[in-house]
């Protein structure tokens, strides 16, 4: 199955978008041909074979993408639920974060929530939720989602560069504050491929790292390095 994905990685990665722009959050990429033109110079049987290979590969990727969650993914989902349960339990012991005209009160409530989570998970470390068992699966899902929608890891990196923030300048660490200055947003196609999360948690990609963020505490929960793998490199 992964072989099929590898087969389609490059051709699908060359799908063009309006006015030669890189889709999603990416910058423009000039001179890329629309997919219909990829076959413009091919005639007869070779063209039909190429189309069949592409379609077959895409179907295979799609089938794999929609496969039932494997055990590692199920355990990851359960771990995020456990985290959310802990979050809610601690939150219930703090003053409620309400809509208030005092931004300082909002800031204070978030800090208190983050402090409570840090105190409850003092030894939190990379890999606690993104375990070695689930990490490869997540990397493959991200790579496949990008390929399936005509993106490459370079497109994701380009989207980051467009925000003008160098990930190397702001370090990421588990139990540290998530710097919203990064201006990151998730590609919807990647989001669709990753396991669902409880409302307290969101994914972000910073550099090549997948970050699990507690958005109610602006807290980094876990880090998955090298999340932007290129299927063709595997």
């Amino acid at each position: 199955m992964p072989k099929a994905a590898i087969c389609v990685a490059r051709p699908l990665g060359r799908i063009s978008h309006p006015r030669g722009q890189v889709p999603g959050h990416g910058r423009k990429r000039r001179g890329i041909r629309p997919i219909s033109r990829l076959f413009a110079g091919i005639r007869g049987a070779p063209a039909a074979l190429a189309v069949l290979l592409l379609v077959g590969g895409a179907v295979a990727v799609s089938a794999q993408w929609q496969a039932p969650e494997n055990l590692a993914v199920q355990q990851f989902i359960q771990a995020t639920r456990d985290y959310a349960w802990l979050h809610r339990r601690l939150e219930s012991t703090l003053a409620p974060l309400e809509v208030t005209s005092d931004p300082a009160a909002i800031h204070r409530a978030i800090q208190e929530m983050a402090a409570a989570m840090r105190a409850a998970r003092p030894d939190a470390a990379p890999g606690d939720l993104f375990t070695p068992a689930v990490a490869p699966e997540l990397r493959v899902r991200i790579a496949r989602a990008l390929v399936l929608h005509g993106y490459t890891p370079a497109d994701v990196r380009a989207a980051e560069r467009a925000e003008g923030v160098d990930p190397a300048l702001v370090p990421l660490r588990v139990n540290g504050a998530f710097p919203w200055i990064y201006g990151t947003a998730m590609f919807p196609c990647v989001l669709q491929a990753l396991p669902p999360l409880p409302p307290e948690l969101q994914y972000r990609i910073v550099g090549d790292t997948l970050v699990l963020v507690d958005v109610h505490a602006s807290l980094i929960v876990d880090l998955l390095p090298s999340a932007l793998a290129d299927l063709t490199d595997r």
Binding site: H17, P18, R19, Q21, V22, P23, G24, H25, G26, R27, K28, L97, E98, V99, T100, S101, D102, P103, A104, I106, H107, I110, H149, Y151, A159, A162, E163, W180, I181, G183, T184, A185, M186, F187, P188, C189, L191, Q192, P196, L197, P199, Q202, Y203, V215, H216, S218
Partner: protein, 288 residues
């Protein structure tokens, strides 16, 4: 020459439709017969002089075109978002409007801390995506930083149950754009556009690209990018066939008035120049 003349005629027509009667400020509109007027700003929260100047221009515009509320397209605050920043990057530049009890309704941009949804002047009710009705219009304000399945399902259901004749979508990342920096968010378009079309959304408003651009109707829906109310990428757009109008020479904001099945609009620069104007018909009501 002909194009220029046509542009001026559109501006004149829109000015006639949107302008109040001489010497009398009209009502801002509450859905009881008078037009519903609102302003749109995006990518505004810099705390720097141009944002303040746009704020002053919005106040001056309100004196002649009293809008009822302001939509914020996201990136409501850049950089630090500590309590003092809420003052410097929001409460001072729009202070006169806030004191006039004009509400602001915010969408989250990619530079916004999601916890800002608790800030009451953003009127998000603690939600990262929400809907609100104003007279004949229902607005759907989305969080396109994290367009997850629950949000998609919510949008589909909320649009399906809306009974207002106008449905307007507000989200930070534009799904059509000819801006040079980011371009269109095609990944988001794949998810969002079928839902917007299916439920008869009349207009889409976005920001993110630090220019002003109006996109011709795409599958029936015209889109506005109002992303230069604070930030500006001067000259940062390459108009294409689907560009109805664009402006990237200065900061800008937009005012709109909905009356019956038409929405008149004008984009206004930091210095008060009208840089785009026109009329949009609600494809739902006008088809009936």
């Amino acid at each position: 020459m002909a194009a220029s003349l046509r542009a001026w005629m559109i501006v004149a027509l829109a000015a006639t439709l949107i302008a109040p009667a001489s010497g009398q400020a009209p009502a801002a509109g509450n859905g009881t017969g008078s037009p519903l007027r609102f302003a749109v700003i995006g990518d505004n929260g810099t705390g720097k002089a141009p944002q303040y100047e746009v704020g002053r221009q919005m106040l001056a515009t309100h004196a002649t075109h009293p809008y009822a509320f302001v939509l914020m397209m996201g990136d409501n605050m850049y950089g630090s978002q500590k309590p003092r920043d809420f003052v410097d990057k929001f409460e001072i530049p729009y202070g006169p409007l806030l004191r006039m009890k004009i509400p602001f309704y915010a969408a989250l941009g990619n530079h916004d801390d999601p916890d800002n949804r608790h800030y009451p002047h953003f009127n998000m009710g603690g939600q990262r995506y929400y809907t609100m009705a104003k007279g004949p219009v229902r607005f759907f304000i989305l969080d396109t930083n994290f367009m997850d399945a629950p949000q998609v399902r919510w949008l589909d259901a909320a649009l399906a149950s809306a009974t207002e004749p106008w449905k307007i979508a507000v989200f930070h990342h534009p799904i059509y754009s000819n801006g040079d920096r980011h371009g269109p968010n095609v990944s988001l378009r794949v998810v969002l556009e079928p839902i917007l079309i299916r439920h008869g959304v009349a207009v889409g408003f976005s920001g993110h690209e630090h220019v002003y651009e109006r996109i011709t109707a795409q599958k029936g829906i015209p889109y506005f990018i109002v992303g230069s109310s604070g930030q500006l990428r001067r000259g940062g757009i390459t108009p294409a066939a689907n560009t109805a109008a664009s402006f990237a020479d200065d900061q800008a904001f937009l005012i709109a008035a909905i009356d019956g099945d038409t929405m008149t609009f004008r984009a206004i620069s930091r210095t008060g120049a009208v840089v785009d104007a026109g009329v949009i018909r609600n494809r739902n009501t006008s088809e009936q």
